[in-house]
């Protein structure tokens, strides 16, 4: 490396590596470099202001593809979070990914600590749900979650390490939205107790309005909890599965709604922060996947 400009590659990321060390890596080559924080700090400062000769580590990071030549040196450079994420999500060599003999995955699962296992099991358990769901939505919620219930049961009862990765049922909540309800207009459905839910301190009208639907409608919202995936999968690629699985769950809710209400609609995701906020959820920890809704006056099928 001489005096030419370098920049961080798309998908570059820095994370602590224990003690005073830091790990810097990039999705474009999959290379990871663990070095002292002090050495990396000098590179960070030099990339931002390359007036001085480059620190020795810069050449090594360029060889690893973590730093790349920047022919437009001096021009603003703003890597897209979408592209950077995509590059990471395309890598196949995550330790808990699919390998032919599943040995690597078994090894990773073996490292799950007891608190993590307990947390995963707790997330698969229901919370108290004393309130009744609207009678015509009971079957919708129950049948839309047949498969989710199966997976939750496996997580709770199987006991095997592999079962810990069954996230389909445990990572998503269903919120029943009924602006005309005499008491709570938003109920968090209990997926293990038919027809039961827990009142949520939120207004169904606000939730529906967050996706452009007025209060003459009712519906069921699918909301994913990121923590449940983060506990299981320790890498960014799992977000793809989180979103795809959310779509599968939303489709199951939509099909169940349609069986009951032929004119049901789907508001598809990502609904973003407004819906989470309307549900009194932190949009940094939850992702609203979508809502299946129908006019309140519609006839059932």
């Amino acid at each position: 490396v001489t005096s030419e400009r370098l920049r961080w590659s798309d998908g570059a990321i820095v994370a602590p590596a224990g003690g005073r060390r830091a790990a810097v890596s990039t999705a474009s080559t999959g290379r990871l470099w663990i070095t002292s924080g002090a050495a990396l700090a000098r590179v960070v400062a030099w990339v931002a202001d390359p007036g001085d000769p480059p620190p020795p580590l810069a050449a090594k990071l360029r060889d690893a593809g973590i730093l790349v030549d920047d022919p437009n040196g001096g021009e603003p450079f703003a890597p897209s979070p979408t592209l950077a994420y995509h590059r990471w999500s395309e890598r196949d060599d995550y330790a808990d990914g699919a390998d032919e003999l599943a040995e690597r995955r078994r090894e990773v699962l073996g490292k799950f600590e007891a608190p993590t296992r307990r947390a995963i099991l707790n997330l698969a358990r229901s919370r108290p749900a004393p309130d009744p769901l609207p009678s015509d939505l009971i079957d919708v919620v129950w049948h839309a979650t047949d498969r989710a219930r199966l997976y939750r049961r496996i997580v709770r009862s199987d006991g095997s390490a592999a079962a810990l990765l069954y996230s389909y049922g445990a990572a998503y909540d269903l919120y029943v939205l009924d602006p005309g309800a005499p008491t709570a207009s938003v109920l968090l459905a209990d997926l293990d107790a038919r027809g039961r839910g827990a009142a949520v301190d939120a207004d169904a009208t606000d939730v529906l309005r967050s996706v452009g639907v007025n209060s003459a409608h009712r519906g069921v919202a699918v909301v994913g909890r990121l923590e449940d995936f983060q506990l299981r999968y320790h890498h960014a690629k799992a977000l793809r599965g989180f979103l795809v699985d959310g779509g599968r769950m939303l489709a199951e809710v939509g099909r169940a709604m349609q069986r009951r209400f032929p004119d049901a609609w789907l508001s598809r995701a990502p609904l973003g922060a407004p819906t989470c906020r309307a549900l009194r959820l932190d949009p940094a920890t939850h992702v609203a996947i979508g809502i299946s809704f129908v006019r309140s006056s519609t006839e059932t099928g």
Binding site: P16, D70, L226, P262, A269
Partner: protein, 291 residues
């Protein structure tokens, strides 16, 4: 290593500064030449940092540390970005956990800043019933009972068929009286694939490990250019993919076919070798077994 919560980070707030280092779940993502974004424990929002501030975090003994704004220092501690260094040492034998959820958190933070909402008409029951059975052609499959069931399952539901951004490829391994191969966007055109062994490599890894006998595999792709796409659009593509994968699964169930879904199956290279066109994301696959 489970993600720490913000509540945990309060524990470290009283630690003397000279023992601080980057906390274990922290990720720093470059944002331009001089800017960075920092993510703490859990999916906390990205905190913008300058290169000098990042250097200070990386090297608490270095010269940049003394210039770190005390208010920012307190904020970094309160949000769990800085913590006692040695106490947070991680097992780095698995090099990929070093990456953690950083890129995903960065992506999600971008998505939260975008407003996107779509209304999508649910497919009607008639759409879900599939295509009417057509006469077998020279190029298409001759359908046995299983062949017919597989055919009806992967015949695209209306909304999927009408979506120009979606492409479906069916790979046949062992369906009675159906010529093994790759069928793109329906049954009419079987394509030669330059890598004929690809499916036999994919299927056992993705599905066979669980002992599932794959007879055919439906692979779903969506057109989306990550370089030009917003985070919302990119996320939406995956959610919509999940919706359609679920519809295919439902049809398999209605036809009495066992099935398995896998969105992690690596089919990226297939989009290129099957000449689907540029910018297709692999969304996942539904494997169909014999009834």
């Amino acid at each position: 290593v489970p993600p720490r919560t913000l509540r945990d980070s309060a524990i470290v707030a009283a630690e003397p500064l000279d023992t601080l280092g980057l906390a274990a779940p922290v990720h720093l993502v470059p944002d331009g030449r001089t800017g960075w974004r920092a993510y703490g424990a859990g999916p906390s929002a990205g905190i913008p940092l300058s290169a000098a501030e990042v250097a200070a975090c990386l090297d608490p003994d270095g010269p940049a540390w003394e210039f770190l704004d005390p208010a920012l220092r307190r904020r970094l501690i309160a949000t769990g970005l800085l913590a006692p260094g040695d106490a947070e040492a991680q097992d780095r034998r698995d090099r990929w956990t070093a990456v953690g959820w950083g890129p995903a958190l960065d992506f999600l933070a971008a998505m939260r800043t975008e407003a996107a909402s779509y209304h999508y008409r649910l497919p009607r029951a008639t759409d879900l019933a599939g295509e009417p059975i057509v006469e077998a052609t020279e190029a298409g499959p001759r359908r046995s009972t299983l062949g017919r069931e597989v055919y009806e399952t992967v015949a695209l539901p209306g909304p999927l068929r009408d979506d120009p951004n979606l492409r479906a490829v069916t790979a046949v391994l062992a369906v009675d009286q159906v010529q093994p191969g790759w069928y793109v966007d329906g049954w009419q055109a079987r394509r030669e694939h330059p890598d004929e062994d690809a499916l036999s490599r994919i299927a056992p890894v993705a599905f066979g490990r669980a002992g599932f006998p794959v007879a055919a595999l439906l692979l779903l792709f969506v057109r989306c250019d990550p370089a030009a796409s917003t985070a919302s659009r990119y996320a939406e593509a995956h959610v919509v993919g999940g919706i359609h994968l679920a519809l295919v699964e439902a049809r398999a169930s209605e036809h009495g076919l066992p099935f398995r879904c896998n969105y992690a199956v690596s089919t990226r290279s297939l989009a290129k070798t099957l000449d689907l066109g540029a910018g297709y994301l692999s969304l996942g696959a539904v494997a169909l077994g014999a009834p």
